[in-house]
């Protein structure tokens, strides 16, 4: 047992380059008529749990999909783990995705396969050849996968079919699958949106624990302000594709965050300063 940090383990001043660097990212759909992302600009240091909040359609998912190259920006730069996502070739992108875990709202498990095999599929990126059936993965891989399942508390379900699990359990299996990639960055697109409060808390707990224990960078989009305040190191708020909030979770209270959800901004004085539009990126307060 290592000692458990009871205090917020805020990332040290980054000596290493940031894990994610987004510069003036703009994305328009439908020939420019819809702006999904509007000059989004931030960077994320290693080991941070960053939560994106905002209304549906505010650009959270689009932003996450730019980070592993599922979307291509209209303008701006995206650099993730030292890879320029915008200019990367197919092969480079695949190499990047191998290092970036992605957790989906709908879990993305193959329901008929056992939990263990679903977790094992996270190792496909390093294997290269197609696999079918648990036994086509080596014993060492299976041992590793079982370890990850144990970490999310589901090793006793290894050979149960994934579709027999509850939603929260399925999401934890999906997280175990990304652990199989030994990710350096974990992206989670509303991982708890279809879960009940208790399962949501369990999933968030697993994410936060991995973040701390492995010094893994996690970027997670959420709807629930309470969960965001409860688990994030830092919160970025998006409205209509623009950043309207970027602060250390410590310095925020519920009312401030809720403002992100207001469709019409109250008088400019009362509104949180849209950080990205004027000032350079606000690095969260260190060592609070």
């Amino acid at each position: 047992m290592t000692t458990i940090p009871h205090q917020y383990p805020a990332p040290k001043t980054p000596r290493t380059p940031p894990v994610v660097q987004v510069r003036d990212l703009t994305k328009t759909f439908a020939n420019g008529s819809v702006t999904a992302l509007d000059q989004v600009d931030f960077e994320v240091p290693r080991g941070q749990l960053l939560v994106l909040i905002g209304l549906s359609g505010s650009g959270k998912s689009t932003l996450l999909r730019h980070l592993n190259g599922l979307h291509h920006p209209t303008s701006g730069d995206v650099e993730v783990l030292g890879t320029d996502v915008v200019t990367a070739q197919r092969r480079e992108l695949r190499a990047l995705r191998r290092r970036v875990g992605f957790v989906f709202q709908q879990f993305g498990l193959v329901g008929r396969l056992s939990c263990l095999e679903n977790v094992l599929s996270g190792s496909l990126g390093r294997l290269g050849a197609p696999r079918y059936g648990v036994l086509t993965y080596g014993k060492a891989l299976r041992r590793e996968a079982l370890g990850h399942l144990e970490r999310v508390g589901l090793d006793d379900r290894a050979f149960q079919r994934a579709d027999t699990l509850s939603g929260g359990q399925q999401q934890r299996v999906a997280i175990a699958r990304t652990l199989m990639q030994s990710p350096e960055l974990l992206l989670a697109d509303e991982p708890v949106a279809s879960l009940d409060p208790e399962s949501s808390a369990q999933v968030m707990e697993v994410l936060a624990r991995i973040c701390v224990e492995d010094r893994l960078t996690v970027i997670c989009s959420l709807h629930q302000v309470e969960l965001a305040l409860g688990w994030a190191h830092r919160i970025i708020g998006l409205r209509d594709g623009a950043m309207v909030l970027d602060q250390d979770a410590h310095d925020l209270d519920n009312a401030e965050v809720m403002r992100v959800y207001q469709r019409v901004q109250p008088g400019s004085g009362a509104a949180p300063v849209p950080a990205a539009q004027t000032a350079p990126v606000r690095v969260p307060a260190m060592g609070a």
Binding site: M1, T2, I4, P5, H6, Q7, Y8, P9, L70, R94, A95, L96, R97, R98, R99, G101, F102, F104, Q106, F107, G108, L109, V110, G111, R112, S114, S121, G122, L124, G125, G128, P130, R131, Y132, V134, R142, R143, E144, L146, G147, G153, D155, D156, A158, F159, Q160, T164, M180, E198, A201, Q202, M204, E205, R209, V212, E213, E226, G230, H250, N254
Partner: protein, 595 residues
Amino acid sequence: MAVVEAPSPEAAPKPPAPDSHIRPPWTSQRVLLTALVAVGAIATVWGWNRIGLSLATFTEGWDDMGRLLDRMLPPRYTTVGRWVGLAVETFFMALMGTTIATALSFPLAFLAARNTTVNPFAYRASRAVITMARAIPDLIFAIIFVSAVGIGPLAGVLALGLHSIGMIAKLFADAIEEINEVPRDAVLSTGATRIQSLSTAVLPQVMPSFTSVALYRLDINVRVSVVLGIVGAGGIGFELQAALRSLVYDRGLAIVTVIMVMVVLVEWLSAVMRRSLLGADSAAVSFGQPRRRGALASLRRHRIAEPELAAAVPLPTGGPDAVTEDDGPAPEFDHRALTPPWTADRVRRFGYGALVLVGIAASFVSVDVSPLELLTSLPDAWRASSALFPPDFSTAFDGIVEGMVETVAIGIVATCFGTILSIPVGLLAARNVSPNRMTYLVARGFLVFVRSVPELILAVLFVAALGLGPVPGVIALTIGAVGFMAKLVADAIEQVDAGPREAVLSTGATRLQETFTSVIPQAMPSLISSTLYLLDINIRTSTILGIVGGGGIGFLLQNSTRVRAFETTGAIILSIFLVVLVIEQLSGWVRKQLI
């Protein structure tokens, strides 16, 4: 109207509703349905006259059938051992053909599914191959291959293998298009390649339907491979044809019974396999472990309540659910835990898998076809197919038109009578409508019996009794249609909701009224859809009836290959292809409009 005119004292007499209010409106659906019935009726009358059917044909035919039965009974089992051997060979032919078709369908289906294809061209090309394979009847493939590689099972296996692609690959592709895409995105975003995402996220999702389709096709192919024997593709069909040709009818009947036993056995086996494999799939497999609610859960609740404490990432500090942070060597896991447990379900899957593999291996050994021969025969098959080009319509134009018209007439008449007859039979064979258990069992038994004899074999028997011509063809096709359709009717009726039936019965309606008011309307959509499907099948089958002398274009087809006028054969195949395609598109369109 006048009788009802006694106005009640309190209410002023309402004027009777105008007629337009008490007649159902002419919706486009109703117009189409009425038109369909009208066209069907006219077409049937036309077909009836075209074929030259009359009630006298049936009364006279009845006597002829009696005489034939006289000569057939009792069946004489002279060389049962030999026949069983031939039946097994026939089954192996079907198994091989299905195996080849399944193997070819695999890549084809992935190319022909919109969500897994590589580019639009590959999609269109593979869809075209599939449509073509389906539109050319298997017997025609067999005739081409017999002329290419000679008489014997190889021609049959090739014919089955190619024609079955039309159904297997189409249903495979449909299954692929219906998958849930999220797992695939998830696997791709781990950095997996396209191929890996197919094998890990797509294949497991479609495996149950693949298995079910392949087994279903095996059922069909067993019947077909009996028939293929008639055109020289070996097996028990060949033996039957020989017996009937030499007018040894009692032996013929004995062979027919052997065929029936084989067909029923295979159908039973594949039904058992399908049910057991798919049943295991739909039932959630649970090992009955209690849901784990450890320290995590309780800690989390606490966390939510006090968001200001969130900065501290709490970790369970002990207890069974504690997360061990071990920097040393990986903890030892029970070896058994790394391999799936041998649950009953897994044992069953392995058992059936092994059975199928052994069967396939046995089929390659026992049928005299080596995998190498399959490859080396391809150039011959290619040569035979290219001999069909360019199709020559000029030599036998009138004959082709005449034959096609007769073919369509046979198909329509058989569909009409088959449908009409199959409704009462289907009602009797539906568990929830049949008057009693005995009737139900007899009706179901009758259906199994009828379905176990392929239409072409029936046609052979009727031709023997009634002589050459379209009449025995129509009768054989109608009986086959009843076997096919009545089962669909019965299955559809068994799915009917019981609620409305009780409601209608509780108004004091008779059972027959209740059947017409609550059962048939509920089953109507599937009845219409089955009828249109039946028309498809019947037109296709009636193109080949002529091969055994049952009327239609098949006779001309058989003749043209006999005299090696392959370009005329090509013209005939092309016209069959077109007619089948048009009918299929038409019935597909109607089905889409109505349902």
